[in-house]
Every structure is written in C-alpha cells, then in structure tokens.
Amino acid sequence: MLISFINAFIDRLKAIPDLIPYQTGVLLVVLLCNGCGQTPSAVDPALDRPYTAEDGGALLSAMPSDPSGLISMVAGESASSAISSHIFNTLLRYDQSLDLTGELVDTWEVAPDHKTITFHLKPNLKWADGKPLTSADVLFTWQLVVDEKTHSPYASDFQLVTHAETPDANTFIVHYAQAFSPALDSWSGLQILPKHLLAGQDIHTTQFAQKPVGSHYYQLSEWRHGEYLKMDKNPLAVLGAPHINQLIERIIPDPAAQFLELMADNIDSMNMDPITYARIIPSRPDLQARLNQYKELGNSYTYLGFNLKHAPFDDVRVRQAINYAIDKQEIIDGVYLGLGIAIASPYKPGTRWSHPTLTPYAYDPQRARALLTAAGYQDSNGDGILDRQGKPLSFEILTNHGNKEREKTVVIIQRRLKEVGIEVKVRSIEWASLITRFIKTGDFDAVVMGWGLGLDPDQYNIWHSSQQQPGQFNFIGYQNPTVDQLLEQGRQTFDPVERMHIYHQFAEILYQDSPIVYLSAGYGLTAIHKRVKGIVDPIPAAGVGYDSQQWFVPAPIRRHQMQAE
C-alpha cells in the first residue's frame, strides 16, 4: 500500500517534472506593491554640480553576451570588438568631425597613383607589457588577417594589398595592385596585435584571446566568463592615460534584467530600446534625476530583403508593390516611437552620400494592388490571398530572435501585406542559426535584418554581383551590371564630389530595383548615470562614446567603494 502510494506520488512528481511550480506567500504582497513601485532613492543634488576633471573611479556598463575571445579579427562579433577596442589601437581613426587622423601613426603619405601608402609610426610606442611596438607588429597583423587559416571576416579589403614592407621599425608601406579609395578607411578598422606574443601560435586556440595584451587605454585585468570583464587603466597607453581607472562590463543577457540593474543603480550605463527611452524613463522622476539620456542617429538601418533568386521576388513589380504596401512611418511610430528616420538610399541621413532628392516609397496600397495585378496576380479563389497560375502569393519573413524591434516590425509588415492580399508567415530564429541555416544556404524568402553604415560609401561587398558566394554579404543575390560598374568605379575614385555622384547614381538604381525595402534608420539611445562627467554635449558626429578617455567620475559622487551589489 505504501509502495503503491509512493508510485502514485512519484508519478505525480513526474507528471510535473520541470515546471517549477513555485509556492508563494508573497505573491499578493507583490501584486499590491506593483502600483507603489518607486525606488526610494533621494535625489542627490551633488550630481548636478560642476566638477573639474580628476582621475580615479570606475564605470560600470552592461552588455548582452560574453565575447568568445578578444581577437576581434577572429571573433568577428560585436561583443568582442566592444571590449577589444578599449585594448588595441588601430593605425588611423576618425576624429570628432569624422576626418581621418593618426592613432598609432604620426603621418602617412599616399602616392600620386594611389597605389602605395606609407605609414610613419609614432616614436617609442610600447605594448602594455613594456615591449616596443614597431612596424613588425603591423606587418604581422596584416599577414595574420589575410592568412587563409585565419578566415577573418575582415580579410577582403586587406587582400587587395599585394605586398607590404617595413624598411625600418617605424615605417610600414603597403602596395595595392590598383587604386583603392576605401584603403585608409580599412586601416582605421584593423586592431594591431603584438607579434612577440602571437607569433607561432594557433590564432584560433591561443590563450592570448582570453588574456590579451594591447597598447590602448585599458588592459584586461579580470574576466569571469558569463559574469563580467574588468579593464584597468594602461599606464603605458599610446595616447596617454584616461581619467577613469577601471571599466567594468557586466554580462547581462536579458534587457529586462539590464534595466532593473540600472534602476537599482548597479550599472552606470546601458543601451536602451525606444520604449525605455521615450516612455519609461520620462515617467520616472527618480530615474530622470540621476540619468542623462543620449540620442544619436545610429550607424545602421533596418530593411526587408528579398531572396531575388526565388519567385515571386524575381519580378520587380512584386518588390515595388510590397514596398508601396508597407507603411514605414507606421513602423517608425509604432516600433521606434518616432525615434527613427525613413530613408531612400543606403546611407546615413544628413551625410553627403545620402541621396538629397529621393524620397522613400510612399504608403500606397492602391498602387501596390495595381502593380500586383499588372504582375498577373489576382484572387481567383476568393480566399483573400492573391494567386497566379494556382500558386498563392505567400512567403516567409525571417528575423533574428530576441531583437524586439525587428520582431515587432515583422508583425506590422505581416499585417499590412495581408491587406493587399499577400500572406506572410513570420519566424524568428536565433542569430547564429539564422545565418547558418538560412542566409548562407540561400534557403529563405525574405529577411528583416540590418546593415551597418560605414563612414566610407563603398558598398561593394553588399551589392556587387561577385559577392554572392555562401558567407558573402550579397546573399539576396542582387545582380545589376550598371551597379557593378558604379561600385568598381567608386572604389577607384578619390575626388569626394565625383564619388558622391557615383553613389547617388547607385542609390537611384537601387531605388528603382527595390531589392530591399528600407524600413528605418533608428537612433542609438544610451542612458548614462550623472556621476559620469566630461561627456561631450551635444554629441559629436563620431558618437557619444567618442573621447570616452576624457570622461571622469568625481570623487564625491563615486559609487561607494564599488559596493556594486
């Protein structure tokens, strides 16, 4: 009897195996408290006083995922470069007004035929371990990035260098087979690695990726995987020492938890979504009192991209119809709460590359229907979905899981397209498998994703017909000889005005072809605690994080001896 009872009971336990049905006595209290939820923290007037710059203190921020390693040319992920950009220098960088200036180099010369660039390194550069940083390190880094075995996603620009030489310890010369106008831009993105620590190592398994030594403002001091990374000030920093002693990046995957940590004052800064920025923080005076909010036009845009090799997207009328059927302003209002801009060319609005007269496809469902009819679609069986030759006009949009803005965008698109008789299925897939299983294999109808906008207008990798191999960026299969020619021309043209005309012409053709629907260029939204001073305001063109070595945390308002938790 006892045994059978146990069995019955075990089955009971088994029947609810892993659901964690929790018991609670506090539930009701929680519910009652929900309304009264204001963090009881007094507004500190000290936060708003002026301070003079001083050294010390720490800055805590949060990022969603642990980097896989800190050699960004290998890791190829944003989590990695977010950290490694504090640790490693590049040869060149963009200054406040987005002009190129030297970082590791003092001066550089471009030969009149544009095929040779000579970089002169600053004298007496040192790695954080005290060893000298020379042109040999730069050469080594270039060899590494173009090495077949490295398989760096950034290799292609550097493969155009036919050979490189180091006549002396401070001089680095690169030769190109033909003129390449984005060359200098590409060198502003390559983080220089120390040869003396990496030579002879397998770049994929080396411990250096976990314990890097660089030359920039900060050096990694502690890395608790999945929890946090700490970086300490580098006294030998090539560009001089920053004010803040320590940077701490906490790994908090869940944006909700990130915001709760911000509210509990356990982190100083985080990137926000539009709802947090526009609705939640304004509704909370206690948060407003201790946070500064920054808004800047981001360096990326969201788009709906079609697989041009799949029917019905091989028909330009269908692509244009979909473009007309989507209300971009609705997406900007509903998903970005107005914190976005509709665009008509793939460039950052307000820059010279952005086409001045093109306007985004208007929301015009009538026109969309007309185009679809012209393409031969009609609702012959009366189910509300258009069809042609017995095949319904139906496709699937993929986007990456966890990106709330894109997931919402897709739902809005689904709704609008249904109104003109197109059936859309929606699926959100984790980033890695989206890329792997669908993008690389070309096994998709349409995607909602984003493209970053570099400072150089060259978009050869995305639009040139030669870039369609699996793993390359023209995965939608765009093919247009005129565009190919323009892109090639743009890469060999140096005069800014001439280049501008080339890229405007390129944008016009894209606009007509409508291979993607530009949805929105969103704003980057950041909240930073008021204890962090020295932030350039208004935000320079280079972004809020520009010049962060000038930031400081005055001693009187520092986080209490890092009792962070």
């Binding site: 195996p17 609670t24 539930l27 190829g76 701490i248 869940d254 938890a257 890695a432 792997t436 938790e565």
Partner: protein
C-alpha cells in the same frame, strides 16, 4: 547488500545505452549537416575544420557505425569542443601544446547548479517536514487547510512569473538582494567569509524560488505519508500501549513516513536539473541550465549532447544513491519484499 549493489550497477548499463540512443536520435533530428552549422556561425571555420568535425562525428560512416562510435565517445566522456569560436572543451579541462589549461564548460557550470540544487533541497526539507507533520496532526483543521491551499498554489504558479515579480519586488523596489549574476564585482577583494556570504546573497532568489516548488510537493508527501502510517497497525498498537502522542509521532510514525522521501528526492533530480534552465536564464547564473539554453539556441551540438548525457547520467547516479540509501535504511528491501523502482 553487495548482491543488490552489483545488480543495481549492472542495471545501469542498459539504461545508459538507452540514453545514448535517445541522445543520438535527438542529434539527428536537426535538419542538415551539422558541419554546415559550424561552418556558418564560425567565420573562421574552414574546409579543413569541417573535415575534422566530420571525422569527429564520423558523418561519412553508415548510421550504425556512427552510433557505435558515439557510444564509445560517451563511455570515454569525450564530448569534443564547443562550436562557438572559443572552442572550449565541452566536458573537462584540457591542456594545449603550450601547457595552458582550458577549463571544460560543463566542469565550470556543474558545481554551480549542484550547489544551487543542494541548497534548494536543504531549504525544502527543513520547511517541508515540519509543515507536513503539522498538516497531518491537524488534519482537516485550519493549519492543514492553509498548508493545502499553499500547496496547490505552489503546484500551479508559473515559476518564471514569480521570479519576475520577486526580482522587481525584492531586487528593485526594495534592493535587498542582487538581481542577477553570481558574484559581486569586488568579489576578489572580499575575505573568504564575505565571499561565501556574497555568493549566498546572489543565490538567494534563484535558489529559494524553485525550492518553494519542492516545498509544495514534499509537504504534501510528508503529510500523506504520516496519515498512512498513523493508521497502520503498529502505530495503533503503540498508541494502545499508552505511549504518548509525541513518542508515537516522532519515534514510530515519522521514521517510517520519511523513508520513502529518500526515493522521492532521488527521483526529483531530473526535474531539478531541467528546472534550472528557467531560473538560471532569468537570474543570469552561469550554470548547466543557462549553458544548455544558450547551446540549444546557438545549435552548439557538442554542448547540447554533452549536457543531455551528463544530466541523464547524474540522474541515474542520484537514483542509485537514493536506492542504496533506501536499502540501507529499510531492511525489507534487502529481503526482496519490495522494490525500489
């Protein structure tokens, strides 16, 4: 006893084979060639490394051979390396050519999950046994009714929901406990006693919330067990002999009522391990559950397979321990009157 132990150990062999079959089946559910998965989310993955991977999983061999080789690797606890670009060993530490040691992913995550579960179980038992006794002694009176109501709510409340509400309530409105993570940022500077305190503070919410689960079922279990035993002949006899109520309850009834608890605890292990997914994901605790969730989302097959196998093996081990403890505690089992399945 020795015979029983040997029999019990031999019995685990077919179980392990079955687990290997199921995990093998799960791996082959995924559409497409897993090497193409690796190639895609690892830009550096080359034809060469794909070949290595194909060799590792013997993908060019017939299915039967593949399974045999998978079984062999399972026995050797060789789960390979993660697909993620850090390429860490899945299970245990490894030394590379330079003599650097890379810790295994499961090796790092397992102690955290085990610690959480042991603490949780401890809290559950401390609360559940007295509550269960109270409910059985005051059967159909108000303490029993209150406890029963709590039990039902406990069974029924979604854990992730309670976690969210509590996170906001005792993490933000009243910042009594840390919201996420396992260590404070100044952990390294703390004295060892403070370090223990620090970890316990961080574990409070992720441990206590799931522990309340177990509380519901184990309280009910203790109560029903006590009710059963209190009506048995020998307890009635003891009572008839004039022993005090206290003596009857604690000396005679409780011991027998608690005996089956050992089995219950053993059997709750897979639930505890599986349940760690939600708690660890919400509270950002780098344990087995979060590791598994991340691996599943990224299709990091070696890690998924490793955790599935190790988790099952742990369950078997837990059941074995429970059975042995039961056999040790209950003489009836040794004589084969009852079985502990």
């Amino acid at each position: 006893m020795l015979n029983y132990l040997i029999k019990r150990l031999l019995w685990m062999i077919p179980m392990l084979i079955g687990i290997s079959l199921i995990s093998f089946f799960v791996m082959h559910l995924a559409p497409g060639d897993i090497t193409s998965t690796e190639a895609a989310f690892n830009p550096k993955s080359s034809e060469e490394s794909r070949q290595k991977l194909r060799a590792l999983y013997h993908l060019d061999q017939p299915v039967m051979v593949q399974y045999g080789l998978w079984l062999k690797r399972m026995v050797q606890l060789d789960f390979g390396h993660s697909f993620a670009s850090h390429q860490k060993p899945v299970f245990w530490a490894e030394k590379n050519a330079n003599g650097d040691i890379t810790k295994g992913m499961i090796q790092e995550a397992l102690p955290i999950t085990l610690l959480m579960n042991v603490l949780g179980l401890f809290i559950t038992l401390i609360l559940a046994v007295p509550l269960g006794i109270l409910a059985s002694k005051r059967y159909h009176q108000w303490p029993d009714r209150v406890i029963t109501l709590f039990n039902f709510i406990g069974f029924s409340i979604p854990g992730f929901w309670l976690s969210l509400l509590l996170m906001y309530w005792i993490g933000v409105i009243h910042p009594w406990f840390p919201i996420s993570g396992l260590h404070s940022l100044n952990y390294e500077q703390l004295s060892s006693w403070q370090q223990v305190q620090d970890v316990l503070m961080h574990l409070f919410m992720p441990v206590v919330i799931p522990a309340l689960t177990g509380l519901a079922s184990i309280t009910l279990f203790v109560k029903n067990g006590m009710l059963d035993v209190l009506n048995l002949d020998y307890v009635l006899t003891a009572r008839a002999k004039g022993l005090s109520d206290r003596a009857v309850t604690y000396r005679h009834a409780l011991r027998n009522a608690l005996l089956p608890l050992i089995t219950i605890i053993g059997l709750s292990i897979p639930g505890l391990i599986g349940g760690s997914v939600i708690a660890e994901t919400i509270f950002a605790i780098p344990g087995m559950g979060k590791l598994f969730y991340d691996a599943v989302m990224m299709r990091d097959f070696p890690v998924v397979m490793g955790i599935l196998t190790i988790g099952s093996a742990l369950t078997l081990l837990g059941n074995l321990c429970a059975d042995l403890a039961y056999a040790w505690a209950d003489p009836r089992l040794r004589r084969g009157i009852a079985t502990a399945q």
